[in-house]
Subunit: 112 residues, 2 copies
Amino acid sequence: MVEANDELSAVFQALADPTRRAMLSRLRVGPATVGELAEPFTMSRPAISQHLKVLERAGLIERTATAQWRTCTLRTEPLDEASAWVERHRGEWNDRFDLLAEHLRTMKENSE
Amino acid sequence: MVEANDELSAVFQALADPTRRAMLSRLRVGPATVGELAEPFTMSRPAISQHLKVLERAGLIERTATAQWRTCTLRTEPLDEASAWVERHRGEWNDRFDLLAEHLRTMKENSE
DNA sequence: TCCTTAATTAATGAATTGCTTAACCGTAGG
DNA sequence: CCTACGGTTAAGCAATTCATTAATTAAGGA
């Protein structure tokens, strides 16, 4: 792999781990410090830090530092694109012309 | 990582690659042989085969062999669960009680 | 039978992932 | 000042991912 990872891939990649998904679920309730996010898990703090870094790079969380606490906040915008992709591929869509046109468009975007 | 990968992780993992997503997009038009799926890409056939294996393990395609051709068909069922997860985390949901209850339920499922 | 076509398997390799422990950094409090 | 607390950085390791080339299987046609 040479290519700079596109945003959509980064989001799906971030979601492809149960720990990270659980963290995002927790953040739906409201912002949390790293310690609070780590609490349900048995893994080490550095492991938690690394998961958070993945989420941050995917744009799914924001971190703000006050004193020695890092507060994490959920960002849902990147999920819009992910949702759009999934919904597009899920429907009982049968217009072959539209589908082919869309596929060719996707191919073109992909080769930019 | 020790745990046997759950289905949802496998689906998101499969979607976290532009080549695989393009293959699924192509399959929306209709079933295709491996050769047809490989056509837009410059990578080797074995690489294509491995991508298809990932998609198959995630339940996103089905392969049927007739003569020396393997025909791939899109299976959208696994996308339902993925869609549900994303939509759940995307909404402008503000009932903290429900969110907390749901989060705790998710945690419990996660530890089974 | 021999050759071509379609695709997979096997073996290899570089890069990435997910975890660990140990060391470090910045803030607050005695 | 120095110690504790909250977190990150660094280094190392096993396993997985994504690609390659070479060899293999399996069916169809001359």
